[in-house]
C-alpha cells in the first residue's frame, strides 16, 4: 500500500527567477491501486524569522518566533479524489513563480535567524484511516538580471593599513607587537557569483604569524514588537595564510561565496541581512588582529 511520492524539477540546478514557470513532474510509484481524496500541489515561499536569545529571554525566543512572512502561497488541485493506478505515474506540472500581491520576492537564503525558503509541496489526501502523503522540494530563487546602470556601484577598491595604532577596542597598547599589514580589497560591493578578491601584504611583523584567515559574517536584524535584534554569526572561515608567511609578498585574498548561505544584501522593513568580512591575523601566541570590512552583496 505504500506510495512513493517524489517531485522532480526540470532544471538540474533548481534555480528559478521571478515570473518564470517552475515546471517538473510528480512521480508516483505504488505496488497496487491506491485510493485517495485528492492530490494537491502547493507553491510556498516565506521568510522565517527567529529572535535571538541574546536580545529576548530564552522562552520568548522559543515561543515568540515572529510570524513568517509569506511571499508566495497558492495551491492547485492536481487530481480529484480517485485512484492511483499501480505502477509508475508521472504527472507533469507547471507553476508560475509570482509574488503574492506586490511584495518583492527575496532570494533564497539560509541563515541563523533569517531564512528565506521556496518550496513546491505535493499532498495526497487520504481517507482518515490512512495517513496523508506529502513531499516537498525546495527550489532556489534568484534575482533576475537587472539593467546595467546599477553595475556602476561595483569596483569600489578599499585600501587598508593595519598597525598597532589603528587598532580599536584594545586594552593596553604596550603588549602589542609592532607590525604593519597593508593591502586592498578589489571591491566591497561583490557579486555573489564572483569571488571576493584582494591582497594582503605583511610589510613587517615583530612576532611570527601563525595564520591569516578570512571570516565571512552575516549580520541579521529582525524587527519585532519588542524592538529588534541584531546578530552577527560566522558563515565560513577560510585560511589564506598558513604559518609564518613571507614578508613583503602579496598574498591573494580569495573567497568564493557559499551558495544558499549568502544572498544579496537585504534591507526590508521587517528584517535585514547584511554581510561583513573579517581579516584575521593570528600571531604565534594566538594573539588576534582583526580588520572588519562591511560588504554589499549583489546578484548581478
Amino acid at each position: 500500500m505504500a506510495i512513493n511520492l517524489d517531485i522532480k524539477l526540470k532544471r538540474a540546478n533548481k534555480i528559478y527567477h521571478e515570473g518564470e514557470i517552475v515546471s517538473g513532474i510528480i512521480l508516483l510509484k505504488c505496488n497496487s491501486d491506491v485510493k485517495h481524496d485528492g492530490i494537491f500541489l502547493t507553491m510556498e515561499g516565506s521568510v522565517n524569522l527567529q529572535l535571538s536569545s541574546k536580545n529576548v529571554g530564552i522562552f520568548e525566543a522559543f515561543y515568540n518566533s515572529v510570524k513568517p512572512i509569506q511571499l508566495v502561497q497558492y495551491t492547485l488541485d492536481v487530481a480529484p479524489a480517485g485512484k492511483i493506478p499501480s505502477g509508475k505515474t508521472e504527472i507533469p506540472f507547471e507553476l508560475p513563480l509570482k509574488p503574492r500581491g506586490n511584495k518583492p520576492l527575496y532570494e533564497t537564503y539560509h541563515g541563523v535567524f533569517v531564512s528565506i525558503q521556496y518550496l513546491v509541496r505535493c499532498d495526497i489526501k487520504r481517507s482518515f484511516l490512512a495517513k496523508d502523503v506529502s513531499k516537498s522540494l525546495e527550489f532556489i530563487m534568484e534575482d533576475k538580471p537587472v539593467n546595467l546602470q546599477l553595475q556602476k556601484a561595483h569596483s569600489k577598491i578599499v585600501f587598508y593599513k593595519i598597525t598597532p595604532e589603528s587598532l580599536q577596542n584594545i586594552r593596553e597598547r604596550t603588549g602589542v607587537p609592532k607590525f604593519l599589514i597593508s593591502g586592498r580589497l578589489d571591491s566591497v560591493c561583490c557579486k555573489l557569483t564572483q569571488p571576493l578578491t584582494g591582497e594582503v601584504i605583511i610589510e613587517h611583523c615583530e612576532v611570527p604569524i601563525k595564520s591569516i584567515e578570512l571570516q565571512l559574517v552575516r549580520v541579521e536584524t529582525c524587527g519585532c514588537a519588542e524592538g529588534y535584534s541584531r546578530d552577527a554569526t560566522e558563515i565560513q572561515n577560510i585560511q589564506i595564510g598558513e604559518g609564518n608567511v613571507c614578508t613583503g609578498l602579496a598574498i591573494p585574498v580569495y573567497m568564493i561565496f557559499p551558495r544558499l548561505f549568502t544572498c544579496p544584501t537585504l534591507n526590508t522593513s521587517n528584517f535585514k541581512v547584511e554581510f561583513e568580512v573579517n581579516l584575521i591575523v593570528v600571531f604565534e601566541d594566538d594573539y588576534l588582529v582583526t580588520e572588519n570590512f562591511p560588504i554589499t552583496l549583489t546578484r548581478h
Binding site: 559574517v217 595564510g241 613571507c246
Partner: protein
C-alpha cells in the same frame, strides 16, 4: 633428386599452415577442439569484430579487476582459438564494454604505487621532461627517516583516540552547524592518532587510506572519499620529520591523483549527452568542449568546486583543488590558465617554504598533465615566487626548527631539490637560452644561491651550460659553504660539461679553477664525489699528462687513513671512465699513476673487475702491442684476473676470463722478432697455468709462429730456423699434456704433429702422433655437448679418419717396422671402441681405403720436402705384402662384425655395412682372385637379402661396374656382374 625436393618445399610449407592454426586450437587445456580451414577462421573473426562495434550501448560496469578482462579481450582479437573454449555469449558480453568503461577499466588501477598521470596527457608531457613517474621511486629511496611518524585521521582503525578541540568559530557557537564546516573538521570522537610509526608502517597506512578512499568512492560515499582526500592533504601541512617530507609528498599526492581521476571519470560518466541529431545518449569524446556538457553534470562539477572552496585550511584546500583541477574542463575552456595562476598566487600564503615549494611542484605536475603545454607561464611564475621567498630558507625561524630536528642546513636544502628540479625542468625543457640568462641574472641577486645553481645546472640543457662554463665556475666559487654544499655543485657542473663538447680554450681555465677547489677538499668523501666526475672531463679534453697528475692527486687523497677502502665503487668508475675515454692506451698503461691506483684496490673481487674492464677496454682499441713496458703492465693486470680463478670459479666466469686473456695474447706481437715472441708465449704459459683456454690459445699461437717461420724461409730451413721450429714443436709437445680435456689434447697433438711435419721435424711429428695414439684409449666414452651427454664415438671416428689421412704422408721411421704408426692406431682402436661397435667397422673401412692408397706408386698428396712412404719403399713387393697382411686382418675384423650383426638380428645394419664393404672391394681389391670375387658376390647378396640397403646406392654401384667393365683392366667385371645378378 634433391633439386626436386627443394622446389617442393614452399608447397609443403603452404600445406603446413593449416595444421599450424589447428595446433593452437588443439591446446590440451581446451575441452573442445574445432578444426577449421584458415579462410573460414578469418571470416568469422571479422564478423565478431564488426558486431562488437555495432552494439556499444551495453551498461558500462567498471570492473575491479580490469586486467584479466582486457587480456581476454585482446586475446580474442589476436587468435580465434579462445572462443572455442568459452561460450560465445560471455564473449560477446565482454566485447560489449563500451569504449569509455573499457578505457576506465584500462586506466583504473587504483593502487597507490601505480599512478598513471593520465596516459594521454603523457604524450606531450613526456616529450618535454622526464616523467614524474621516473623520479617517484628515486625520491622514495632517497628521502627517508628513522624518526617516528604520526598520522591523525578518522578513517583508520587502531591507534589511540584523541579529543580534537573543535575550534570555536568566532565568538559564539553556531547553533546550525553548516554542512560546509563539517568537511574539514574531524568528526568528534572518531579521530585517532597513530604515534610511533616507522616509515614503512607510515607508507602502509597511507596505502590503507588510499584503499579506503577508493572503496568509499565505489560505495557511493563520495563525501567520505573527499574527507579522506582532505585529511591526506592535511598531512602535507606537517613538517615534523622533515627528512621524510619529500617521500611523504610522493605518497600522498599519489592518493590525490587517484582522487582527482575518480572525480574526473565520474563526471565524465555523468556527462553523457545527446549528439546533435541523434537520440541515443553517448559519452563525451575525449576532446569535448564545455558546451557539450549537459547542465546536470556541470552542476555536479560546480558543486565539487564549491565544496572544496569552503575547506577551511589553506594547504588541504589548495591540494584538493589542484587534484581535481582537470575537472574545470567541464565548466569553461579558459579556466585552466586563470586557475593555475590563481593557485600559484595563493601558494604564497603558505609560510613554510618547504611546504610551499612542494605545493608548487604539485601544481606544476597537474598543470603539465593538463596537456596544455603551450601555456606554461604559470611555471615560471611559480619559480619566481619561490625566488622571492628564497630568503626565508635561511631565516631564524627555520634555523631554530632545524636545530630542533637536528638537521644540518645542507641536507635541509637538499630536501628542496626534487621539487625545485622538477619545476625548473618543466620550465626549461622547451625554453630558449635567453631564459637561462634571465634566471641566472635573477639568481645572482640572491646570496646563498647554491641551491638555485644546483637546480639550474640540472634543469637546463647542458649545451646552454657548456657555452658559459667559466661563468658557472665563478658563480659556484662565490657561493658560501654554509648553504648548499659546493662540491655537489662542482660535481653537477662536471656532469653537464662532459655531456657536451667544449671549445678547447675553455677547458684549461675551467679545470684549473675547479681542480684548485677539489684538490683542497680534505674530506675524501667530498673529494671523490668531485674527482669521479672531473677525471672524466680531464680524460676527454686533456692529454695523458694531466690525467696522470689528477690520478696522482686522487691517490694521495685516498692513501691517508686507508680512505680508499670506502671508495671502491667511485674508484672503479674512475678507472672505467679513464679506460673508456682514453685515446692513447699505451701511454695510459705506461703512466706513472695508473697502476698504483689499481694497487689501491685491496678488495680482491673489485680489483679483478677493474682489471677486466681494462683488458676489455683494450680489445676495443685497434692495433698490435709491442712495447715491452705496456706488455709488462698488461701481463701484470692479466695475472690479477687469472689469479682470481680458483676451484670454485664458475665455468662462465672462467670462459670470460679465458677470452679476455686469449684476446690479450693475440694482440701482443713482436713483429719479426720470433724468438722474443716465443719466449713471451713461454712466459705467458708460466703466468696463466690455471686456464686451459689460454694454453690452447698458446699452442695455436706457437704453431702459427712455426708456420710463419716456414713461410719466411719458403721451406728452406737454415740451421737457426730449424732449431727455432723445433723449439716451437717442443713447446707444443710439452704444453699439451697439461690440458684437462682429452679431445682438445688429441686435436692439438694432431695439429702440432702436422705443423712439425710441415717443418720437416720428423722426430717431433712422430712423437706427437705417438702421444696422440697413446691418448686415444683414454678418450671418455661420453662427452658433453651443449649440456647433454653424448657418445664420443662419432667424434672419435671423425678424428681418427682425419688422423688416417695425415698418416698417409708420414714416412715410416727407420727404427720401427713398416707402418708402425698404423699398427699403433689399430691397436688403439681395438681398445677404445666397444667390442661390437659399428663405428669401429666404419673406421676399418676407412683403414682399408688408406691401406689401398698406401700401396699406390704415387700418393695423391705430399708434404713439401718430406719424402713419404711411396718414395721410401718405391712400391716394394715386400712392403705391399706387409700392407696386404694388415688389410686382410682388418677385412677379417669387418667380416666378423658382419657375422655378429647377422647373429644378433640387426639385418638392416648388416646389409648397409655389407654394401659398403662390397663397394670397397670393387674399388680397392683385386677381384681377379676367385676367393675375393666369391666374397664380393656373397657380400652383394647379403646386402640385398633384407632389402634394407640403399637401393639408389645399389643401382649406382651396378652402373659403375657396368661402366668399368668396358675397360680392359676390369674385364672380369661382366662375369662378376652376371653372378651377382643371377640369383
Amino acid at each position: 633428386m634433391f633439386e626436386i625436393e627443394w622446389s617442393a618445399c614452399p608447397l609443403n610449407q603452404g600445406l603446413l599452415r593449416v595444421p599450424h592454426s589447428e595446433e593452437v586450437t588443439e591446446h590440451p587445456l581446451n575441452p573442445i577442439t574445432v578444426t577449421m580451414t584458415d579462410g573460414r577462421g578469418g571470416f568469422r573473426r571479422g564478423t565478431i569484430r564488426s558486431s562488437s562495434t555495432g552494439s556499444s550501448t551495453g551498461t558500462p560496469t567498471p570492473t575491479h579487476a580490469p586486467v584479466p578482462v582486457t587480456n581476454l579481450f585482446s586475446d580474442q582479437l589476436l587468435n580465434h582459438s579462445s572462443f572455442d573454449g568459452s561460450d560465445p555469449l560471455s564473449q560477446f558480453a565482454r566485447q560489449d564494454l563500451d569504449p569509455l568503461s573499457k578505457m576506465a577499466a584500462d586506466e583504473w588501477d587504483y593502487s597507490a604505487n601505480v599512478t598513471s598521470v593520465g596516459k594521454k596527457s603523457k604524450v606531450v608531457a613526456d616529450d618535454l621532461v622526464e616523467p614524474w613517474q621516473a623520479r617517484r621511486a628515486a625520491i622514495l629511496t632517497k628521502y627517508t627517516t628513522s624518526e617516528k611518524l604520526s598520522i591523525v585521521t578518522s578513517f583508520l582503525p587502531g591507534g589511540e583516540k584523541v579529543i580534537v578541540k573543535v575550534q570555536p568559530s568566532g565568538t559564539m557557537v553556531d547553533k546550525v552547524r553548516t554542512r560546509l564546516e563539517q568537511l574539514d573538521d574531524f568528526e568528534e570522537g572518531s579521530v585517532r592518532q597513530m604515534l610511533d610509526l616507522t616509515q614503512q608502517e607510515y607508507a602502509a597506512r597511507i596505502e590503507l587510506l588510499n584503499n579506503e578512499l577508493v572503496q568509499a568512492w565505489h560505495s557511493d560515499q563520495r563525501v567520505k572519499a573527499l574527507k579522506i582526500a582532505i585529511q591526506c592533504a592535511k598531512l602535507l601541512g606537517d613538517t615534523a620529520a622533515m627528512a621524510f617530507y619529500p617521500s611523504k609528498f610522493v605518497l600522498i599526492t599519489d592518493i590525490l591523483d587517484i582522487f582527482g581521476k575518480l572525480v574526473y571519470e565520474r563526471l565524465k560518466m555523468k556527462a553523457e549527452y545527446y549528439k546533435p541529431g541523434s537520440k541515443v545518449v553517448t559519452c563525451l569524446p575525449d576532446n569535448f568542449t564545455p558546451e557539450m556538457v549537459p547542465e546536470s553534470a556541470k552542476e555536479t562539477c560546480r558543486n565539487w568546486f564549491y565544496k572544496i572552496a569552503s575547506i577551511r585550511e589553506l594547504v588541504p584546500r589548495l591540494y584538493v583543488e589542484m587534484a581535481i583541477i582537470k575537472s574545470y574542463s567541464y565548466l569553461t575552456s579558459s579556466e585552466f590558465s586563470t586557475a593555475l595562476l590563481r593557485i600559484t598566487r595563493m601558494i604564497r600564503g603558505i609560510g613554510n617554504p618547504l611546504i610551499a615549494i612542494y605545493a608548487r611542484c604539485y601544481l606544476c605536475r597537474v598543470g603539465l598533465a593538463l596537456n596544455q603545454s603551450t601555456d606554461l607561464g604559470f611555471v615560471k611564475e611559480n619559480f619566481y615566487d619561490f625566488l622571492s621567498t628564497y630568503g626565508q630558507l635561511f631565516s631564524q625561524t627555520i634555523k631554530a626548527d632545524l636545530n630542533k630536528q637536528n638537521i644540518p642546513t645542507s641536507s635541509y636544502l637538499n630536501l628542496y631539490t626534487p621539487a625545485l628540479d622538477w619545476i625548473l625542468q618543466v620550465m626549461a625543457s622547451s625554453a630558449p637560452e635567453s631564459l637561462l640568462i634571465e634566471i641566472l641574472a635573477r639568481c645572482k641577486q640572491e646570496s646563498n644561491s647554491g641551491l638555485l645553481l644546483n637546480t639550474i645546472l640540472s634543469a637546463f640543457k647542458s649545451t646552454y651550460i657548456a657555452s658559459r662554463p667559466m661563468e658557472f665556475v665563478n658563480l659556484i666559487m662565490s657561493c658560501n659553504e654554509e648553504g648548499f654544499p659546493q662540491h655537489l655543485l662542482y660535481r653537477r657542473l662536471g656532469q653537464c660539461l662532459i655531456q657536451e663538447s667544449l671549445p678547447k680554450e675553455d677547458c684549461k681555465p675551467v679545470l684549473n679553477a675547479v681542480w684548485q677547489y677539489v684538490a683542497n677538499l680534505k674530506d675524501p668523501v667530498k673529494f671523490m664525489q668531485c674527482a669521479e666526475i672531473w677525471i672524466q672531463f680531464t680524460v676527454i679534453y686533456f692529454s695523458v699528462t694531466e690525467v696522470n697528475f689528477i690520478l696522482g692527486e686522487i691517490i694521495s687523497h685516498l692513501i691517508p687513513n686507508r680512505a680508499f677502502e670506502q671508495h671502491y665503487s667511485q674508484m672503479q668508475t674512475i678507472v672505467d671512465k679513464v679506460v673508456a675515454h682514453t685515446q692513447d692506451y699505451e701511454s695510459l698503461l705506461t703512466m706513472e699513476n695508473f697502476l698504483p691506483l689499481i694497487d689501491l684496490f685491496h678488495k680482491e673481487s673489485i680489483k679483478v673487475d677493474v682489471c677486466k674492464t681494462i683488458i676489455d677496454g683494450l680489445s676495443s682499441q685497434p692495433g698490435l702491442i709491442n712495447d715491452p713496458i705496456v706488455i709488462n703492465a698488461l701481463m701484470f693486470i692479466a695475472r690479477i684476473i687469472h689469479d682470481s680463478v680458483s676451484a670454485l670459479t664458475v665455468d662462465d666466469e672462467k670462459r670470460q676470463i679465458g677470452n679476455l686473456i686469449c684476446g690479450l695474447v693475440q694482440r701482443i706481437d713482436y713483429g719479426r722478432d720470433f724468438e722474443k715472441q716465443l719466449s713471451f708465449y713461454a712466459e705467458a704459459r708460466a703466468a696463466f697455468p690455471n686456464l686451459d683456454s689460454v694454453h690452447i690459445q698458446l699452442v695455436q699461437c706457437v704453431n702459427r709462429l712455426s708456420v710463419d717461420t716456414r713461410k719466411i724461409v719458403r721451406g728452406h730451413h737454415t740451421r737457426r730456423t730449424s732449431a727455432f721450429v723445433r723449439a716451437c714443436a717442443a713447446f707444443c709437445f710439452i704444453t699439451i699434456p697439461s690440458l684437462t680435456l682429452v679431445h682438445t689434447r688429441l686435436q692439438l697433438y694432431l695439429l702440432s704433429g702436422q705443423v712439425a711435419l710441415l717443418n720437416q721435424c720428423l722426430g717431433q711429428a712422430d712423437a706427437c702422433f705417438k702421444a696422440a695414439l697413446s691418448l686415444v684409449p683414454e678418450m671418455p666414452k661420453t662427452i658433453e655437448l651443449d649440456g647433454r651427454q653424448k657418445s664420443s664415438e662419432p667424434y672419435l671416428l671423425s678424428y681418427l679418419s682425419s688422423f688416417l689421412s695425415t698418416l698417409l704422408v708420414v714416412p715410416d721411421s727407420p727404427e720401427h717396422g713398416v707402418l708402425y704408426l698404423m699398427r699403433g692406431l689399430l691397436n688403439a682402436v681395438q681398445r677404445c671402441f666397444e667390442a661390437n661397435s659399428s663405428s669401429k667397422s666404419y673406421l676399418y673401412l676407412r683403414v682399408l681405403d688408406l691401406l689401398s692408397t698406401v700401396t699406390q706408386e704415387n700418393y695423391p698428396y705430399h708434404v713439401d720436402k718430406v719424402e713419404s712412404n711411396d718414395t721410401l719403399y718405391g712400391s716394394d713387393k715386400k712392403f705391399i705384402n706387409e700392407v696386404d697382411k694388415i688389410s686382410s686382418k682388418v677385412f677379417e675384423e669387418i667380416l666378423n662384425h658382419l657375422k655378429y650383426l647377422g647373429s644378433s638380428d640387426q639385418h638392416g645394419k648388416q646389409s648397409v655395412l655389407a654394401l659398403e664393404l662390397f663397394c670397397r672391394l670393387i674399388m680397392r681389391a683385386d677381384l681377379r682372385q676367385p676367393p675375393l670375387a666369391t666374397i664380393a658376390i656373397n657380400l652383394w647378396k647379403l646386402s640385398q637379402r633384407h632389402g634394407s640397403a640403399d637401393p639408389k646406392l645399389s643401382v649406382q654401384t651396378i652402373e659403375y661396374m657396368k661402366n668399368r667393365s668396358q675397360l680392359v683392366v676390369f674385364d672380369h667385371f661382366p662375369e662378376l656382374l652376371k653372378k651377382m645378378l643371377n640369383t
